[in-house]
């Protein structure tokens, strides 16, 4: 039985620069996995390769037994894998709710018998879930950075993914907001219905810099440095790993 989600020997080169170097890992259906690493270690490129915005130089990505490596982004999303962007890219001049409604139009969702009529209600529930319902009618360009991050999440969960990839969901949020988002991630992961919004209880891949928050919610952690995986394990293992500490602090720390 193949894994739920599997990346094998994924490599992405930009000219001479190897941004992602022979990366392999797996995610199971019920896991939340963290992906950490210093700046420029290739995390975002890895995600963009998985979602299909960039095409990888070599390697394969498998999702639910299908090889999705060279699929177009929309096909990947329709298969049940959604991601958010690190640098938020909303539909700026559209109202916030319309941003989310686009996600609700994904054939993956409408195939389930939901037609355009219900999208507005569902988009509302998605906004309610991330907590920016009160801004629903404003154009997205009015939102603060933190709210835009939440909008990204709402847009992604509106497609009802089975695997959700979040690129720095806590970036630019204050500690209170961070905790709120972390909690809602947990809630989402449990699955169920939030009003009309249906949650598949998606597996998650969370890319983050704020390790303390991340470590509380993830089951496994992947550490990336210079495009390579340097460690993989539970949060407890990872924070003791000398290689990881070296990558983050830049010097050898004697293991106690």
């Amino acid at each position: 039985m193949a894994s739920f989600f599997e990346v094998e020997n994924l490599t992405k080169r930009f000219g001479g620069l190897v941004a992602v170097d022979n990366v392999s890992f797996r995610i199971e259906r019920d896991e939340i996995v963290g992906l950490i690493g210093p700046n420029g270690s290739g995390k975002t490129t890895l995600v963009r390769c998985i979602i299909g915005i960039l095409s990888p130089t070599s390697g394969t990505v498998k999702f639910k037994g299908q090889d999705i490596t060279r699929w177009r982004p929309w096909k990947v999303v329709q298969a049940g894998l959604a991601g958010t962007f690190q640098v938020v890219k909303p539909f700026r001049r559209l109202p916030v709710i319309a941003n989310v409604m686009v996600g609700c139009l994904c054939p993956r969702v409408t195939r389930r018998g939901e037609w355009v009529k219900s999208t507005q209600i569902k988009a509302r529930d998605a906004l309610e879930f991330v907590g920016i319902m009160d801004r629903a009618l404003e154009p997205a360009s009015n939102l603060s950075h933190g709210d835009l991050k939440r909008l990204e999440v709402a847009r992604a969960i509106a497609t009802e993914p089975e695997l959700l990839i979040l690129d720095e969901p806590f970036g630019g949020l204050n500690p209170a907001e961070t905790e709120l988002v972390a909690k809602s991630m947990k809630r989402l992961h449990k699955g169920g219905r939030f009003g009309r919004l249906h949650s598949e209880g998606p597996a998650m891949l969370i890319i983050e810099h704020k390790l303390s928050e991340l470590m509380k919610i993830v089951d496994k952690v992947i550490v990336l440095n210079y495009g390579k995986i340097i460690a993989y394990g539970t949060p407890e293992e990872i924070i003791r790993d000398p290689q990881v500490i070296e990558a983050y602090t830049g010097k050898e720390v004697p293991v106690a």
Partner: protein, 352 residues
């Protein structure tokens, strides 16, 4: 049934100045032949109807989807030549040649779209600019098929009388504009293309990452834009009963853009108003002392509008006379203090 319609009119149209003006405008168009049945003004308004379809189809493709097409005359020309050739070789009547010609134009839209799919911004605009030029030279190279410079003459008329022709064009215009308005309405409960077109214009990458097959919808936009551009071209050919190389002119492509920008881009009603204001105005100037200056005046108007009123004149006026309720998003007359439905205060909206 009738009572419900009347109620809609009483509560949905009368209190909103913009909608009321639209109704008055269409009623005026319907009774226009009663006011003036002289040939020349009637012909001008008939042509305005045709150009309105053309301008709105540009707005759908370029305004909504953001695929700024500088060669929209391609569709006009393909529609016109398509229906003319269908008549010339198959002898079909206008009611068959116009839709079929428009289908050919839609196909032309899909074909243009294929190299254009990978291009963005100015590259796309300049590429599309090339196609009508290319096709007009091709048409010129095969005079035995297309009539070369002279074009194809003697097409059957749309209707026997000028008034009949007027009503045909008017009704086709209204139906076409309504269809395009429905297709681009982002708030629509039944049609999703409007929202998707908006999304593609705003950010194509995000649209893709949200599960929208942007290629399919871009092709669709080109096909729809091409279809209605072709309808306009076909009507034009049968109205004047001749089709020449002028239907591919660059100036026609730019004319469409000027009408749309003048009226208000991404609004559907803006282009209609743009055409019905600018086109008769320019034609009126022709006979007068300032006729010599009319192109100059047009160009200066465009420059001034773009610099000082980039949202377009119709949209600007609508913003002046209507306000959207912040709570229920209903349109209200600007002079009201409270929303007509939920009685939320409109005061601060006016200030902001």
């Amino acid at each position: 049934m009738l009572k419900r319609r009347l109620n809609d009119f009483r509560w949905g149209v009368l209190p909103v100045p913009g909608r009321l003006m639209a109704v008055i405008f269409f009623v005026f168009l319907f009774v226009f032949p009663l006011i003036s049945d002289a040939r020349y003004p009637l012909l001008i308004v008939t042509l305005a109807c045709i150009y309105a379809i053309f301008a709105v189809s540009w707005d759908l493709l370029s305004g909504y989807t953001g695929q700024v097409n500088f060669g929209h005359a391609l569709f006009f020309g393909v529609g016109a030549y398509g229906s003319a050739l269908l008549y010339k070789y198959l002898g079909l009547p206008p009611w068959a040649t116009i839709p079929l010609g428009a289908l050919i134009a839609a196909l032309a839209g899909v074909v243009t779209c294929l190299p254009a799919l990978r291009l963005r911004g100015p590259y796309l605009s300049l590429l599309t600019l090339a196609f009508p030029l290319l096709l007009s030279q091709v048409a010129r190279a095969f005079p035995e098929v297309t009539g070369g410079y002279i074009g194809i003459r003697g097409l059957p008329a749309l209707a026997a009388s000028p008034i009949g022709r007027y009503y045909v064009c008017l009704i086709v215009m209204i139906v076409s504009v309504l269809i395009m308005w429905k297709l681009t309405d982002a708030g629509s409960k039944n049609v999703r293309t409007g929202l998707i077109f908006h999304a593609i214009r705003e950010d194509e990458i995000t649209a893709r990452a949200t599960g929208i097959n942007t290629i399919r919808y871009k092709i669709l936009a080109f096909a729809i834009g091409g279809f209605f551009g072709g309808i306009a071209g076909g009507l034009f050919g049968h109205l004047l009963r001749t089709v020449g190389l002028g239907v591919f002119a660059i100036s026609l492509s730019f004319q469409a853009i000027i009408w749309v920008v003048f009226g208000g881009i991404v609004s559907i009603y803006g282009p209609v108003i743009g055409v019905f204001v600018l086109y008769p105005l320019v034609e009126l100037m022709q006979g007068t002392a300032i006729g010599e200056y009319r192109n100059l005046i047009m160009a200066v108007i465009v420059i001034l509008i773009l610099c000082f009123m980039p949202e377009g004149i119709a949209v600007r006026i609508r913003d002046k006379i209507e306000r959207q309720c912040p709570r229920c998003k209903l349109s209200n007359a600007a002079w009201r203090r409270e929303c007509r439905a939920c009685s939320a205060s409109l005061r601060h909206v006016a200030d902001g």
